[in-house]
Symmetry: D2
Subunit: 334 residues, 4 copies
């Protein structure tokens, strides 16, 4: 069975998904839509698919599923439309920056029984998945503490930051989802500290560029997240899971793994400097998992609910940093 | 010039210092005192020093300096006595578990102009020192975030824990001092989370066995500490310092560094399983630094004030974990 | 400009090249030929190319280049045919197992001025290339000694070994080429030692399964190669280049890079267990380099001459192991 | 029981042994002898032992064992004298540079039933010992191939080299002994290649500075040794043992194990730059093993015979490099 795809949004991340879909033996990219004709044309040229409007894709009989890569503020509307149109939906994170809007959207998804998967790509990184597999196998015993390091090579433009919902909703949200993926138990408490250390302009825009967050579940399992918008040595993405029987960790990835030794010491090259090259394999596995779920193999995970909780954790972190107190998740999720 | 030492306390840590003193070309172990005659005798036998009472050491003309390794509740009294007796004093951490008592004790030290050094041995670990040297050289630019991992191979007996002042004052106190050593700026805010995950008996004793702490300085530099009383793979002691120009980290140490590869993978042996073997070099360097300071080369550091602030940070962490809020240091230090 | 390809041979390595060609934006796979219709059909189905006979591909106006992946004993004949037909030729190693036959074949290539590239894929591994780049940059100063480790996860079937020309011509030949790639100077002396340690059947077939070789150039630069048909921990492929100013090394690659720490130690997963997954990137870069050379960007390297010399080195190693003496290359190359 | 030592030779290596003896609870340094009074005095001052002549030590009733650290050309004579005097003997390698002289010396040792241990300190390195322990435990199955890397930070003075017996007898001899220690079977064939790449003066002195050697045992086990008098990045000392079930390797040691990451990459400091700091632990364990053997615990190993065979391997390597052929050990050992 071949899943036939419509791609909504032909920007940077849209191209990544177009490549993943066309490279998957069980999928076919039928059409692409984008407000910018040139962007759509580029994908149509490279992968031999049609260019259509969003309306046309919604109405199309030859399309089973859509991948939503449009601007964030259109996500919830498009999810609702395509849920009603009976298409399976893969939507880039976040569903929306407003928790209320996400909840309303998920009501529609639930009512229409639509398949919805949210794009937390890191769950599909082979190294992180292998750590999770060790938890599932019981190698680590009972999970006790999770340590997540996530540092970007550089800050995005301040214009981007202004529309991003802030660092907790834009960047840490991936780590919140990863913490849940690894803790295996719902988080009940959030405590965050935030500072502006990289770029004062980010502070002027009302955001932070350096944050650390502590999380706790009901039974006392804990996680700590360390974020920065700056890492001169590349894209720093590490996880550690400490359990009663041991530790599993995923180290950083570099494009070239050589070592040069001179009188100055032993030097290995910097890490990947871009999330797309770092997570190439993850993006392909993510779409493959979505395709499998549509085909009845496994559930579409992470779900809309996963997207909702990650956003709620971000909201709690914003509150905690502002009010200098531990915020119970009940306060945010209601 | 040879510094002549009296050793107060011939227990486990006393033996470590006896070895360090006798192995140092600029020092001589003159006498040892211990309430248990056998313990004192063992050190006298091994290193050829005299056995004396504390009173005799206090009065001795042939002793320049003392190393205090007696139980914690005697530290402050002994510091005051030997400060008045004009001896240089090295005291194991902590000075006392009560902040008020420490302050009173330091008043005496100040009044007598005594030399006092407090035993935060990790500052003298060659690897941690090398990280600090990179900061001082400017390799890392402005320090932004410090990450400290400190996990013990196993929990001490509950009886020990009951007298320890709790995990923050007993174990995390080392990490508080390390954070200060690396941040290079006073900490102004403390936020802690704590749980009992390793041994319910520790919880019954009113303590925790798994904690994480976030720290912040006035200018926004931050640190995060991750502690556990359990690490099946050995004594896990790592630091990371992230700065505007880069990262310096000190990895774990193992007694034997081989690797065995089979069909099951590549395996290296566990880490050191004991703080004394892990920090052998640090203990020797610590005493050497004390000896140098007495001889006029450099200051006796970490000082009594350093001991005071580390304890205050522990007090703030206790408060933060209990009250689920960020505690300003002004609240604790007054 | 798009290079139009005919693929000769649709077996295991043919599939690898088919994928590389169709994944390259500057190439198109036009036709495939194979004595087994099913093998050709599988590639035709997957990549939408035609099935043709070798004669048809030879005569085709719509084909610019061929990739020869047929059995070794057909290589030289096919190279000659397609050289005369004016096609650019990529041929899997070796050109032939007989040095005389290779020489005759290269005479035809020279006479027809055909473009010929030989498939020493390891030269295109990004890690090995990065080591070579350090040499070219001068980081290592003058190259002095090269150390090459190459161990297969397991021995091929004895039937394969009987037709392989022996371990030096089948397996070590890659390392001979790598040594030349890194030494940057022609090898003048070869000394080899060989044993049967893995499988007595290999010995009965007149071959070895464990060999080590020392090489020397005229100016005294040296290389050592260590080979085994057995490596329980995966596909062991390492190089070290020691120069007057330093060392560059490429470490092994593993599909998943996590580490699990327990009381038994720190364990990382085994290496890649198959040359195709280990050298995925190398195969793609190799074909891209061939396509670029046809398009006039750079030379087709490794050349037929490179293939000839690698085989001559293997012949010298065979002789050295048998006669227990260092064999000068002049003796083999004439 | 305390073993009472006389130290013959108070130079660089003599000091190392003086420290090891005095640091061992089962030994006492009674006297030191050296042709240079100042050298003897320095050791007498530091460790509180007597200064005596060699004759006095030979006649002394209060000395059980001697450590011979005098120039190489005195070793064999001293061994014979002290064997006849009934002392246990530890002698630095080599016993002599002449195989015939060594054989004659060992005849005396055998006749007098003296305890003789030869100083191949690397056998006592904890990391190399741990590799050997894996062999003994059976983790690696049957040993197949040993790879030994040994590169010095820099060449010694040419004056030293002239008296050294050449690189094979001076430097590689350690690796010959290590190969035997790890192969567990006598070596029957030696093939060597040698070059002058580091310093032309070494060539003028008739020696080499860069060599590689292949070894083989009767059953076909093999070893390869790679040596250079130059390694800009420190003292490069690695071993790999490949067996039928797996691989064990010992990696290099560095005094400080931190890592600094910047835009230029990840850099660790250079290795130890001196054999004495690299092998500090080995020297102490070596003397401890000698003391234990005198006390009846275990044999004095490596023995005089081990010293003899290592020298014979060096002689075979010299011959092989000169005559460009594999030299059977029977040719050298007779």
């Amino acid at each position: 069975m071949t899943i036939r795809f419509g791609l909504l949004g032909a920007g940077r991340i849209g191209k990544v998904h177009a490549k993943a879909i066309t490279g998957d033996g069980n999928a076919k990219l039928v059409a692409v839509a984008d407000a910018f004709p040139q962007a759509a044309q580029a994908i149509a040229d490279q992968y031999g698919c049609a260019i259509r409007t969003i309306d046309e894709i919604e109405a199309a009989k030859d399309i089973d599923a859509v991948v939503i890569c449009t601007p964030t503020d259109t996500h919830a509307d498009l999810i609702e439309r395509f849920a009603r149109a009976g298409k399976a939906i893969f939507c880039e994170k976040p569903i929306d920056l407003s928790l209320a809007r996400v909840k309303a959207c998920l009501d529609v998804v639930r009512a229409t029984k639509a398949t919805l998967m949210v794009g937390f790509n890191r769950r599909f990184d082979p190294h992180f998945r292998a750590v999770r597999a060790e938890i599932d196998k019981g190698t680590l015993g009972e999970v006790e503490m999770v340590v997540i390091t996530s540092r970007d090579p550089g800050a995005p433009p301040v214009e981007y930051i202004k529309r991003s919902g802030g660092i907790f909703r834009d960047m840490t949200i991936h780590d919140f989802d990863m913490a849940r993926f690894l803790l295996g138990e719902e988080i009940t408490e959030v405590s965050a500290m935030a500072a502006v250390l990289v770029d004062p302009e980010i502070g002027k825009a009302g955001d932070f560029d350096s944050v650390q967050v502590m999380l706790k579940t009901k039974s006392g399992k804990m996680a700590v997240i360390s974020n920065s918008r700056r890492a001169t040595y590349g894209y720093d993405q590490r996880i550690e899971v400490h359990g009663s029987k041991g530790l599993a960790s995923a180290e950083n990835q570099r494009p070239v793994s050589i070592e040069v030794a001179t009188g100055l010491g032993y030097t290995r090259p910097p890490l990947h400097d871009f999330f797309m090259t770092r997570y190439t394999d993850a993006y392909a596995a993510e779409i493959a998992s979505f395709i499998a779920a549509i085909g009845g193999k496994g559930k579409a995970t992470p779900s809309g609910e996963d997207g909702l909780i990650a956003l709620a954790l971000a909201d709690a972190a914003v509150k905690s940093a502002a009010e200098k107190r531990t915020v119970p998740m009940s306060e945010v999720l209601g």
